[in-house]
């Protein structure tokens, strides 16, 4: 029998805030994490980190899929040293034509800190409207591209409001360590803990100017909506709650080894450096790493035993003491899978977790996309202007006008979107080559392989691929490209779902997750509308006056639009006030269990118009308060 008051499965955004809060309050806490513990330099004896500024680390050597059941068997893939290996632990997506493809979502990381180690660290709050889309859309007759009325039927208000969540957003901003500006955001801030942002990269100025012009058309409390510095989970000043210090010259914090890299200096605010390492030495806290939980077992309504594999792969069990709670936070797909696998092992568990048919349903990602261009010369017939994009963080400017009610209504949309520029993408040479023309991690190196020139002009010019052609490629693309992205809600559909695959097994011989997902016609419409806004930002900002030279679109256009581009995985175990309509109650507790909580992004009934990590962490702090009342 273990003595832990709380056992948290997963150390990322959904788990770590709970472990932090409970351990600080003196509760005995165990975190079980599948991945390794990679420390930043300042925590190691020799001053070296397992994270490196090394392009081979972020997207490594070629491997090949060897899963005969899938259509992309034998395809090349490249993964970071902390991503799951796709041959070992694939997620299978069903394409429109019914064929299955193995992949893994971007930013899935098996490491202490989870996705917060790899992400670009854009850390936006959701808007108040994002949490009440059902009531906002009720009775509207101006919604476009929704012939069956799905939006009004399927959207849900969250059982909590923005006001309920707001104090927890503040806690995240204070404890995790973010920089950015609160002013000009369409989200009320009761307190401002954001650290001062570093100076923006000069290339971002085009985005800022374009945003400012478009923001003129919409107002917030009588004032035109203005751009703000994108909140990023990177500290720019010494951070007292976690004890982290910034380098003497803060400008050196800006390196493009941010997005898709763990940070060897620990300045990126992963849940390890910000929340877990500060409690590491408490006697009532333990973290067991390299341990994968295989299933949970229940006795009546209580989880009483956890089955896991130790670092050598041997099966172990952990008895959960009476009164203790179990928190599942393995990221949406893996949490749903763990619950489904547990249901297969025990009919009692099955009956309780499947008290309705909603587990795995309403799986969500984001409608996202944007626009990208080469920043033209001045005058335009001159060569493109070039910037040192390697001196930057992931994003400099963001704007909220596309989240305003006026914009949403003007365009017949059901929900809004955050818009921000990406500064650091393709800043390094190998990143430029391997992501050139690719929309996601499944198409890495493909455009490069099929020829630079052909990808740009549509012509097949073999001579352009070597020598002088390579020089031309760099002249045109290195430090010249600017992109603006949007992140928006996807219409929830019951048919978008996570199941267990009937035949493909993981490295432990357990069925892998099977994802069936489609875009709604309104999603496609929304992505087109907002991608056009991103194009306008680049055009009006002066990055490129010719819209024909700006590539723009939504992610649904991608070659494998249903699969790996799903960087933000949400839903599948939504929370609510009605047990017939949700998997979890308002406290993210599974309805028919006493001590089973699910706190990663799977709780979300709608996906929000922004990157989700901030909200997952804030909600986890909220759940921690509830748990402290019962423990």
């Amino acid at each position: 029998m273990s003595d832990f008051d709380a056992i948290v499965i997963g150390s990322g955004a959904g788990g770590a805030p709970i472990a932090y809060r409970l351990a600080k309050a003196g509760k005995s806490v165990l975190v079980l994490e599948k991945g390794p513990l990679f420390r930043p330099q300042y925590q190691t004896q020799d001053g070296l980190s397992d994270f490196k500024r090394d392009e081979i680390y972020s997207t490594g050597a070629e491997k090949r899929l060897q899963i005969p059941e899938v259509a992309n068997n034998n395809a090349a893939y490249y993964s970071s040293h902390v991503e799951p290996d796709i041959n070992d632990e694939p997620h299978i997506y069903r394409e429109r034509d019914g064929r299955d493809f193995a992949t893994i979502e971007g930013y899935t990381a098996q490491v202490v800190g989870g996705g917060t180690q790899l992400y670009g660290a854009v850390h936006l709050r959701f808007t108040p409207l994002d949490l009440k889309l059902q009531s906002f859309n009720a009775g509207r007759n101006d919604l476009r591209e929704d012939p069956n009325g799905d939006i009004q039927r399927e959207s849900r208000d969250w059982p909590i409001t923005y006001e309920d969540l707001e104090p927890y957003y503040c806690q995240v901003e204070e404890l995790v360590g973010l920089n950015g500006t609160a002013e000009n955001q369409l989200k009320p801030f009761s307190q401002n803990f954001l650290q001062i942002p570093l100076s923006p990269n000069p290339i971002s100025e085009f985005a800022r100017q374009g945003m400012a012009q478009l923001g003129q058309n919409y107002s917030n409390q009588g004032q035109p909506i203005q751009p703000y510095r994108t909140p990023l989970a990177v500290i720019t000043q010494d951070h007292a709650p976690s004890g982290r210090k910034v380098p003497q010259n803060p400008e050196t914090i800006k390196t493009s080894y941010v997005n898709r890299y763990g940070d060897p200096l620990g300045l990126k605010s992963s849940t390890w450096v910000s929340l877990l390492s500060p409690i590491e030495t408490l006697p009532n806290f333990q973290i067991w790493t390299n341990c994968v939980v295989t299933h949970l077992d229940c006795d009546g309504n209580r989880i009483h035993r956890i089955y896991f594999k130790d670092p050598a792969g041997r099966e172990k069990t952990l008895e959960v003491k009476p009164g203790a709670v179990v928190i599942v936070a393995c990221s949406a797909i893996e949490s749903v899978r763990l619950l489904k696998l547990s249901a297969q092992e025990n009919p009692e568990f099955d009956r309780r977790i499947n008290q309705n048919d909603l587990l795995g349903k309403y799986f969500l990602t984001h409608c996202f996309g944007g626009a990208e261009t080469i920043v033209v010369g001045n005058p335009p017939q001159y060569p493109p202007r070039q910037f040192d994009k390697s001196i930057s963080l992931d994003s400099d400017w963001a704007i909220d006008y596309a989240s305003s009610e006026a914009f949403i209504r003007d365009n017949g949309l059901w929900a809004g979107a955050a818009i921000y520029n990406n500064t650091s993408d393709q800043a390094l040479p190998i990143a430029l080559g391997r992501t050139h023309g690719s929309q996601d991690l499944d198409t890495i190196w493909k455009t490069f392989d099929s020829g630079f020139w052909g990808s740009i002009t549509g012509q097949n010019n073999p001579r352009a691929l070597h020598g002088q052609g390579m020089v031309d490629f760099f002249n045109e693309n290195f430090g010249t490209r600017l992109s603006v992205s949007f992140m928006a809600n996807q219409v929830p559909l019951k048919t978008n779902r996570i199941e267990l695959h009937p035949s493909v097994k993981d490295k432990w011989n357990r069925p892998v997750a099977y994802i069936i997902k489609e875009w709604h016609s309104h999603d496609v419409y929304l992505m087109n509308v907002i991608a056009k806004q991103c194009e306008e930002i680049l055009r009006l900002g002066g990055a490129n006056p010719d819209p024909n030279q700006i590539e723009e679109g939504g992610i649904y256009l991608a070659e494998n639009a249903l699969a790996r581009i799903a960087n933000h995985i949400l839903g599948g175990a939504r929370f609510g006030n009605d047990r017939a309509d949700s998997v979890l109650d308002i406290h993210c507790r599974a309805w028919d269990f006493d001590n089973l909580y699910v706190t990663d992004g799977s709780f979300m009934p709608t996906a929000g118009g922004a990157n989700p990590t901030h909200t997952i962490e804030a909600n986890a702090f909220r759940i921690a308060d509830h748990l402290l009342e019962r423990l």
């Binding site: 991945g35 390794p36 513990l37 990679f38 004896q45 020799d46 001053g47 070296l48 980190s49 490196k52 500024r53 090394d54 392009e55 081979i56 490594g60 050597a61 070629e62 491997k63 090949r64 060897q66 034998n74 799951p84 041959n87 070992d88 098996q110 380098p247 003497q248 050196t252 390196t255 080894y257 060897p264 200096l265 790493t289 390299n290 670092p311 050598a312 792969g313 041997r314 070039q386 040192d388 390697s390 040479p429 190998i430 080559g433 190196w445 490069f448 392989d449 073999p462 691929l465 070597h466 020598g467 020089v471 760099f474 002249n475 290195f478 430090g479 097994k505 490295k507 432990w508 011989n509």
Partner: protein, 351 residues
């Protein structure tokens, strides 16, 4: 010579082993291109090339003395949990092949079946080794790199960062590959050549010592062929066969085209023509029965050459950071600011 043994951190070993070695599914999912023979357990294990684990190393008390070393961690894993009493490693890094014991790695006080030891071994070296398990001398069952010694014996092999000894390619293959790779990268354009000459010649003695310690040879495109040789020995071993076949075909067809010159001495025009033909997929004289897509080989080579030119110099290419410096000369690109000393100038990041 006494090899420095670095204290073994159990968490470190588990961090670098569990993902790759712990499993129960017996499928051969990691045997792409049939790189292992049928039944070889390596085909069931993920990224076997990671073993032994080669990592950066600094001894904070002797920093100056240790920056030219790697931490090399040997791992033995008893797959059937049948725990041996003694596991040691013998190798060319230690005089007289004195066995160095591997330590039992524990988790929560229990044996895991992993045994490991970390040694400080100089950068730029290649070594052979074997394990001794309860008196039996065995090859490393995980690491696929092996070398057949002059006496006919097979040993396990590894190399440290910045290694320049050619391991997988033959000398003639290296020469031929240099010529083909030259035509992909920008360094053989006139301007590129001027830059390289200037970059290497303008470095003062101190920088040469610091930065070019491991430069392979200045007369090749900044070490990309060395990078490819290392990649084919380790991470992308499964592609060695592509190079072996295609270089042989190319050598033969170039000799058919000009029987008077060695292929490596043939004109730039000859290679240019070959390059265009490879790209078009239509190469007169190509043996399609042996390798059906010359275009695929070119794609592979281009990805490898590009990666070698611009990845960290420790992988054997981008000698002295010349690939990055080439970009920095032409474009705003302050690569040194992010990179560790002595290659870069970042005061905090240690590599």
């Amino acid at each position: 010579m006494q090899t420095r043994i670095i204290s073994t951190d159990h968490q470190y070993v588990l961090n670098h082993c569990t993902k790759y070695l712990a499993r129960s599914n017996p499928d051969f999912r990691h045997n792409y291109n049939n790189q292992f023979s049928v039944g070889d357990a390596r085909g069931q294990i993920c990224e076997v090339w990671r073993f032994p684990i080669i990592d950066s190393y600094v001894d904070r008390d002797a920093q100056e003395l240790t920056t030219n070393f790697n931490r090399v961690t040997f791992v033995y894993f008893s797959l059937n949990f049948d725990l041996p009493k003694f596991v040691g490693v013998v190798g060319t890094f230690e005089k007289l092949y004195r066995p160095i014991p591997l330590n039992e790695i524990t988790f929560l006080g229990e044996s895991t079946g992993y045994y490991a030891v970390s040694l400080a071994i100089p950068k730029g070296e290649v070594h052979t080794y074997k394990f001794i398990v309860d008196g039996q001398v065995i090859l490393d069952p995980i690491n696929p790199q092996q070398k057949i010694l002059d006496n006919g014996q097979t040993w396990s092999q590894f190399f440290t960062h910045f290694s320049t000894e050619i391991l997988s390619l033959q000398t003639w293959e290296v020469k031929l590959l240099e010529r083909i790779a030259d035509h992909i990268l920008p360094f053989r354009t006139e301007e590129g050549q001027r830059f390289l000459d200037f970059y290497y010649n303008s470095l003062d003695r101190q920088s040469k010592d610091n930065q070019l310690l491991y430069v392979y040879r200045f007369d090749q495109s900044i070490g990309v062929v060395n990078f490819i040789d290392k990649l084919l020995s380790k991470e992308e071993r499964h592609h060695l066969v592509d190079y072996k076949i295609c270089l042989d075909i190319i050598d033969k067809l170039l000799r058919q085209r000009n029987s008077f010159l060695e292929p490596r001495l043939m004109s730039k025009e000859m290679y240019s023509e070959l390059y265009d033909q490879l790209w078009s997929g239509n190469v007169p004289g190509w043996d399609y029965g042996r390798y059906n897509s010359p275009q695929y080989f070119l794609q592979l080579l281009r990805r490898h050459a590009f990666t070698g030119a611009f990845s960290h110099p420790k992988y054997g290419g981008n000698a002295g950071g010349a690939g990055w410096a080439y970009l920095a000369e032409r474009y705003p690109f302050n690569w040194r600011q992010a990179i560790e000393v002595p290659l870069g100038t970042n005061p905090d990041y240690r590599g």
